[in-house]
Amino acid sequence: MLFPPDFLTRLEYLSMMSKRVFRGRLLAQRRSLQTGAGLEFSDHREYAPGEDLRYLDWNIYARHGQMLVKRFQEEQDLQVSVLLDASGSMKFGSPPKFDRARQLAAAFAWLALADLDRAGIAVFADGLVQELPGGRGRERILGLMRFLEGLSAAGRKTRFSRSVQDFLQRSPRPGLAIVLSDLLDPDGFSEGLDQLRYRHYDLHVVQLFDPRDARPELLGDVELEDLETGEVRQVRVTERIAAEYRRAFLEHQAAVRDYCLRYGFRCTAADSSVPYDQLMLQMMKAAGTEATPEDGTSP
């Protein structure tokens, strides 16, 4: 069962842990700097003809004869977008990486909704496959879970760059983007992440992998079947080849980690065999450790 009966209870527990222990750093709670309709005064600017006279500061006009308009800091909600990989490679694993990814997506969404932020889910493979638009309110979690349950990892290739491109066209408003994927795109993952970075998205990359991805227990003559492309290849796996594979896999993980470190994004390599709540706690703990005084929070 993808979402067991106590799933929400566990999510509530994770939410409390996030607020009390880790002070909500996982989603990096922050206010929008955009000025507009709000309650908190920000500054003044020159009045332009045609503007709403309600925002004209009459006290200054009476005292100095200058027509200045009051500006307020707009309280804008954080848009949390979960980019969920539904390519064929996510079917691999025990449990499948896609199941673990959906559980994590639900967990992240719940944390956002619990903070009164907006949470949306974009499902991608070789492009944007499905999307659950962002919304606010805890009551959305049930619909979100139903949405996730209805998903399946189709046997499609991973085209992360194109998928991000589709996502950005539909969601021009930046926010926090959480990428749940194994990032096994033969064309590379950096182009897609670059696009998000250019659009001022705050990124959290969760790279899922199965233990058999990291250390395949294959020796001798085998027939390898690519779950994304369906390609079949007969190979003789020797100790040397197995070692080469492990080295390539570690290099790939290191590349993702280096990219995120370079641009200040958060990155988590998540073993899909580990339960989702433990993964969430690990990520919260890591986020708390990484927190700096400039965040306005103290550890």
């Binding site: 691999f92 694993g93 395949p216 085998v222 027939e223 079947e225 003789r236 594979y245």
Partner: protein, 689 residues
């Protein structure tokens, strides 16, 4: 090259399905993976294949085929042999002398010889035949010529170690006859003779046996020698004999000889016990190859079993050398039997002769009673030897009688006159009664001429056939010894020969208990003489004499019993040292060291037959005779192989039974195992498919 089991070549048919399996492609197991991108990278980074790796399937197939070929040849029992294709007759001679009991690395020389012999047997084909001979004191054919391998193996395995020397020369001669009968003249098989020995002892292979020119002696077979055993230090008894004491008329003396057959000095103790009671402990120090001899005197006349043991035996090795142990334990003990010397009642009937009386009184084992005159109706005491001097009753007393200088006739003889100055014509020096008796220098002025009623055994005769000293066997039982020489004018009574003559007579009448029987060497056959009284004991025990042959029982030191048939010595006229009334027993080779006993056999009556054999055999019977058998043999003490081993000798090397050069089966299996290991390594390293 030949194959003993050609049918095993059918195993090669396994190559067909194996090859088929190599030809057919095996369906590979499918393994789904998340992505091929890492595999492509790993496979792309592989170095180019080595040339030989292109043939890895072919190599694997070749290795498998080679393995199959080796195992097939092993099963077919391939032989590399220089011998002709004719069947072979193999005669194995196993030295089972006591020296072969010496152990090296926990295995005796005989066991090693057995193993080597079994290996030779294993090389025989179905057409070959073999025989097994044990070279003990007497060569014994353990198994006649046969091709039945289990029988031959059993004979070799059951070859019994003997505590005596091995007569290899006779054994080889016997083996020659067996092997040569299979020569070309005999037809089919070719002979082969192999001797397994330790090369110790004094025996030297003769030229005739070893290198006989085949043309001149076409029926002789060259001997193959296989020697076992390394030089080992050893010390042991080489002699342990008892004799009557020269100084003490009642006591015994023991002659002991110990030899240090080692290149190292030796310290030890010789411990003597009689019937379990310690008598003496003598420390002994011997230089390398030195012998120690000693005479132990003053042993009492009580008799008993004398046991000597060599204890605290230590070889003092050179500096740095340790662990020198005595090679053979069997020769560290020796046994001897001291016969009890019972007292004897003697009645002297004599009108008075100082010398006759003193001769008898001088014997401390005699209780002497003297009658000065002969009663009218004498009552002769029972169990008493009667010595009549001059006085002769009309009827001689029953039982043994010694008559000296008879002056009257009786029921056994009649005096026909007197001969003066008789000249000694002949004397039976070989008879026990005449032992050490020399009458040639004795002055004999006169002697009575006796006419015996029954023919006597004349021991000494004067010229003209006049018997001077005679033994008369009476039908009523009891022997009569008559010395017809007139003692009055003769110097016989003053000479040394007289007490000797009387003592011989007393010993004869008192049984043979006075003589200390010599200890025998293990492996010897014993020639035993039982007194007439022993035969009487057996007869009174219910024994039925069949054709004059009486059955006795021989008990070995370990308690094993065997029946012995004894014949009265009278059946063997001329048997040296045996009187007609005694019993002569000849045993089989005695293969145990210790004290052997001869006793009367259980009765063979119907009542006795109803008794279980075990119960009957368990009865304690008083032994009629005891004698000792020792492993103290001069030739077997030295465990160092003789320096002059035959030139063609081959020193046998202990090797596993399956590693024999004659049969390459062992090597084939070894090679196959090696190949399996290589194949396993190649598969482990993925060098082979």
């Amino acid at each position: 090259m030949s194959l003993l089991n050609p049918a095993a070549l059918l195993l090669l048919l396994i190559a067909l399905p194996v090859t088929l399996l190599y030809v057919l492609r095996v369906r590979l197991r499918r393994a789904p993976v998340s992505s091929m991108m890492f595999w492509q990278k790993a496979l792309a980074d592989q170095p180019p294949r080595a040339f030989w790796q292109r043939f890895r399937h072919l190599t694997s197939w070749l290795v498998t085929m080679l393995l199959l070929a080796l195992l097939t040849l092993a099963a077919a029992d391939i032989r590399w042999s220089s011998r002709s294709t004719l069947p072979q007759r193999l005669v194995l001679v196993l030295d089972v002398s006591s020296g072969m009991a010496a152990a090296e690395d926990g295995t005796s020389r005989l066991d090693r010889a057995r193993q080597a012999a079994l290996r030779l047997l294993a090389e025989l084909s179905d057409d070959d035949e073999a025989a097994v001979i044990a070279a003990g004191t007497v060569p014994v054919i353990l198994c006649g010529v046969t091709s039945h391998q289990p029988t031959l193996r059993r004979a070799i395995t059951n070859a019994r170690q003997t505590p005596g020397p091995g007569d290899l020369e006779k054994a080889v001669e016997l083996a020659q006859r067996l092997a040569a009968s299979a020569g070309p003249a005999a037809g089919a098989a070719t002979g082969r003779l192999v001797v397994f020995s330790d090369g110790c002892g004094e025996w030297q292979p003769s030229e005739r046996v070893e290198t006989g020119p085949p043309n001149e002696q076409p029926r002789e077979v060259p001997v193959e020698w296989k020697f076992f055993g390394k030089p080992q230090p050893n010390a042991g008894f080489t002699a342990f004999q008892v004799r009557r004491s020269e100084a003490d008329p009642l006591g015994y003396e023991v002659f002991v000889r110990v030899r240090n057959a080692a290149d190292f000095p030796l310290t030890a103790r010789v411990e003597l016990e009689r019937d379990g009671i310690p008598l003496d402990v003598i420390p002994v120090s011997l230089a390398p190859n030195e012998e120690w001899t000693h005479v132990i005197s003053k042993l009492s006349a009580e008799g008993g079993r004398l046991h000597a043991s060599l204890t605290e035996l230590r070889f003092t090795a050179a500096a740095g050398a340790t662990g020198l142990a005595d090679g053979l334990a069997a020769d560290n003990t020796a046994w001897a039997v001291l016969p009890a010397r019972p007292r004897q009642n003697v009645l002297l009937v004599s009108p008075g002769s100082l010398f006759v009386q003193k001769v008898l009184e001088a014997n401390p084992l005699i209780d002497l009673t003297v009658w000065r005159e002969l009663p009218e109706n004498p009552v002769w005491p029972e169990g008493t030897l009667v010595v009549l001097h001059e006085l002769v009753p009309a009827v001689l007393p029953p039982g043994p009688v010694l008559v000296l200088d008879p002056r009257g006739s009786c029921d056994a003889w009649k005096i026909a006159g007197e001969v003066t100055d008789p000249v000694l014509e002949s004397a039976q020096g070989t008879a026990e009664l005449m032992r050490n008796v020399r009458l040639e220098q004795v002055l004999i002025p006169a002697a009575a001429v006796l006419e015996f009623t029954s023919p006597p055994q004349v021991l000494a005769t004067a010229a003209g056939g006049v018997p001077l000293y005679s033994l008369v066997r009476r039908s009523s039982g009891g022997a009569v010894l008559v010395l017809a020489i007139r003692l009055g004018g003769s110097d016989l009574a003053y000479r040394t020969v007289f007490p000797i003559l009387v003592a011989n007579a007393l010993n004869q009448f008192g049984g043979r208990g006075h003589a200390a029987p010599a200890a025998l060497a293990a492996g010897d056959t014993a020639r035993l003489i039982l007194s007439a009284a022993a035969g009487t004991t057996a007869a009174s025990d219910g024994q039925v004499s069949t054709g004059g042959v009486q059955t006795f029982r021989l008990r070995s030191p370990s308690g094993a019993l065997q029946q012995l048939a004894a014949a009265p010595a009278g059946m063997f006229p001329g048997a040296a040292g045996v009187s007609e009334q005694e019993w002569l027993l000849v045993t089989e080779p005695l293969l145990e060291a210790g004290i052997w006993e001869v006793s009367a056999a259980p009765a063979a009556t119907a009542a006795a037959a109803a008794t279980p054999v075990r119960a009957r055999d368990g009865q304690d019977r008083e032994p009629l005779l005891e004698f000792a058998v020792n492993a103290a043999i001069e030739t077997e003490v030295d465990l160092r192989p003789a320096a002059s081993l035959p030139a063609a000798a081959e020193t046998a090397v202990a090797e596993p039974a399956w590693l024999t050069f004659g049969s390459v089966t062992g090597w084939l299996i070894l090679l196959a195992l090696l190949l399996l290991a290589v194949d396993w390594v190649l598969h482990q390293r993925r060098w082979l498919a």
